[in-house]
């Protein structure tokens, strides 16, 4: 419990002037009644003069119904404030430190009350837990005395739980179509290389060492020549998902819809879905953030890898839905990304494409030999001329990427799977 500030509210400023004025009126008209009225003002002025800031002694405790909710699960918060001091606190205003990125859905985290010694007041409210790790701020308490002339602001660290961690479940969705660059491992991407596989590729002359099961025996029977059937090889890709978490990516269509997801939140959601579906398809998947806070998960496979990704997306500040305060050095981030990308890895970039720099970055990474696919949640609206301009600017960025041969999934209000299917249709057409 620490005193943040002592303020004079000055709410009784001028009461002494009223007293003197009443006295003057009484003298001028030679009547006692205004003097009486003035005496009340004198008493108030004296009370204010002698008042001092209150010194509350409080025990504050916060209870959460759960500290590890599923995303979207409502969490009820109970904050109890007990007066441990000897005196009555006539004017106590309590504001709980709800973390940024958590919405209050029912009730209010604020309370105005008066507490006798030993009495307890409770604030109950419900928050909707969103993805991420959220730490409650200290509770702010404003105490005023009987006259209200002084206000003392306190920051109290409540006992009990103060961290809310909501980990996302990674659900596989529509598999993201990938570019044609693969690893030596068997997977789902049909390549143009002849070899083992399912889909017919070509026929060539038999060479010593070819598997007997690959020999076209009907042809042998017909002509006596040996030939070998080849199939398209199916290979796994190594994919690194890059989420644009720069401040520029924290954009949404409307500032007055705080419940609506912003560009980063949607990007992270899409990355989670893509991670799960790529992993399910047998690809090696990695994860990183392109922004001020660092996060890196090297490409890998398996259930543990999936859990690590969920932890990373859910709790790392790098993927927080609130912009970071850290400075961001773009060239450093690009260099770091390039250094980390394994040879032959593809990149899937998740970004609302709200500025030109990210477009340039995508093209650069593509040119370094890491084929890039961009999944872009559309943050633009069309209510104002400015929003329409931003929408057109973003369209230009999309076409610049497409002209450079980069695949783009433009994700509007529809589910991600729909956007992916639409994009795939366009690419194969």
């Amino acid at each position: 419990m620490s005193v943040v500030a002592d303020r004079e509210t000055e709410r009784w400023a001028g009461v002494a002037a009223i007293a003197l004025f009443a006295l003057a009126v009484a003298l001028v008209v030679s009547r006692p009644a205004p003097l009486l009225a003035g005496s009340l003002a004198v008493v108030v002025a004296a009370a204010v003069r002698f008042a001092s800031p209150p010194t509350p002694d409080l025990a504050v405790e916060r209870e959460l119904s759960t500290t590890e909710p599923a995303p979207d699960e409502p969490v009820s918060v109970t904050l109890s404030v007990r007066n441990d001091g000897d005196g009555t606190l006539p004017d106590l205003r309590v504001v709980d430190g709800v973390p940024d990125g958590v919405h209050v859905t029912a009730g209010s985290p604020r309370l105005g009350t008066a507490l006798r010694p030993g009495a307890t007041a409770r604030v109950e409210y419900t928050v909707r837990s969103v993805r991420g790790r959220h730490e409650f701020d200290p509770t702010t308490v404003l105490a005023r005395g009987y006259t209200g002339a002084h206000e003392r602001e306190l920051a109290v660290d409540p006992d009990g739980a103060d961290v809310l961690t909501a980990r996302p479940r990674l659900r596989a969705g529509e598999p993201l179509p990938l570019r044609a660059q693969t690893t030596p491992y068997v997977g789902r991407l049909a390549t143009d290389e002849p070899g083992d596989g399912v889909e017919f590729h070509s026929v060539r002359e038999y060479r010593a060492g070819d598997a007997l099961s690959r020999v076209d025996w009907r042809r042998v029977a017909r002509t006596g020549e040996f030939s070998t059937v080849q199939f398209r090889q199916e290979r796994a890709a190594s994919v690194v998902l890059v989420v644009d978490t720069r401040e520029e990516a924290h954009v949404a269509a409307s500032p007055d819809a705080p419940g609506g997801p912003n560009g980063v939140a949607r990007s992270v959601a899409a990355a989670g879905e893509a991670f799960a579906s790529l992993l399910a398809a047998g690809d090696r998947v990695g994860l990183t953030a392109f922004g001020p806070e660092d996060a890196w998960l090297a490409p890998g496979t398996g259930e543990a890898h999936r859990a690590r990704a969920a932890e990373l997306l859910g709790t790392r500040p790098a993927f927080s839905p609130v912009p970071s305060e850290e400075p961001f050095f773009a060239w450093l981030a690009v260099r770091r990304l390039r250094r980390r990308l394994p040879d032959g890895a593809q990149v899937v970039l998740f970004s609302p494409l709200a500025d030109d720099y990210v477009v340039e970055t995508a093209r650069r990474v593509d040119a370094y030999g890491h084929p890039v696919t961009v999944v872009s949640p559309d943050p633009t609206g069309e209510a104002t001329p400015g929003q329409r301009l931003a929408r057109i600017e973003r369209r230009f960025r999309l076409s610049a990427l497409r002209r450079a041969g980069i695949h783009v999934v433009d994700w509007g209000d529809e589910p991600l799977a729909t956007a992916v299917v639409d994009a795939r249709r366009r690419w194969s057409a």
């Binding site: 509210t9 709410r11 001028g14 009126v25 009484a26 008209v29 009644a33 009486l36 008493v43 108030v44 004296a46 002698f50 008042a51 995303p71 979207d72 006539p90 004017d91 504001v95 430190g97 709800v98 973390p99 940024d100 990125g101 958590v102 919405h103 209050v104 209010s108 985290p109 009350t113 008066a114 909707r128 969103v130 993805r131 009987y146 006259t147 909501a166 996302p168 924290h250 409307s254 819809a257 705080p258 419940g259 997801p261 912003n262 980063v264 939140a265 992270v268 959601a269 839905p321 609130v322 912009p323 633009t380 609206g381 104002t384 400015g386 329409r388 931003a390 929408r391 209000d413 589910p415």
Partner: protein, 196 residues
Amino acid sequence: MVGVSADSRAAAPDGTEGSDGQSTLAADGERIDTAEFVAGVPTLSRAVTATAALVAAAALTPVPIAAAAGFLGAVVVVVAVQRAARRLLDAGVAALVAGGLAAGALGAGPEPLLVAVGATLVAYDAGETGISIGEQLGRRARSRRLVAARAATSVGLTAVPTAVAYGAFRLSTGAPSTAAVTLLVVGVLLVAVALR
């Protein structure tokens, strides 16, 4: 970025910020009313202020001009609390005080005058508290206890010196009486010590 900038921090200070993660993948059209803070004076504060202001104005009815000023002041006070406007509240209270002093100057007795000024003090206290609650806690927060305790305190703090002053006045009618002056001084001192 002209049109699409909605930096989450802009809405952050009272925890209303937000953006959703995993769950709104499919249904991001969902918008919930998350504004936990809505500025506004609590209803109870408005009621207490209006009552006290009307009592103050009603006490001035023996003197028509003072009553006119008083009722004007009461209306201004009610509007001020409705709109959470401090300046307007000050103006309304000034009109009520002016009405009270006018009544005193024009020959009203001490009783209505003390009631009027005491009620004006209570109205100001309740109104200013209501406005500050509206700014700090908003309309959604529970604040009944605070408003009730504040109203009780200010009624008490006004009633005691009023009684003392009235007693002194009754004792001192006619010749200036040392007993009355002493009583007055002792009353002020008692209140000052009690509040220390």
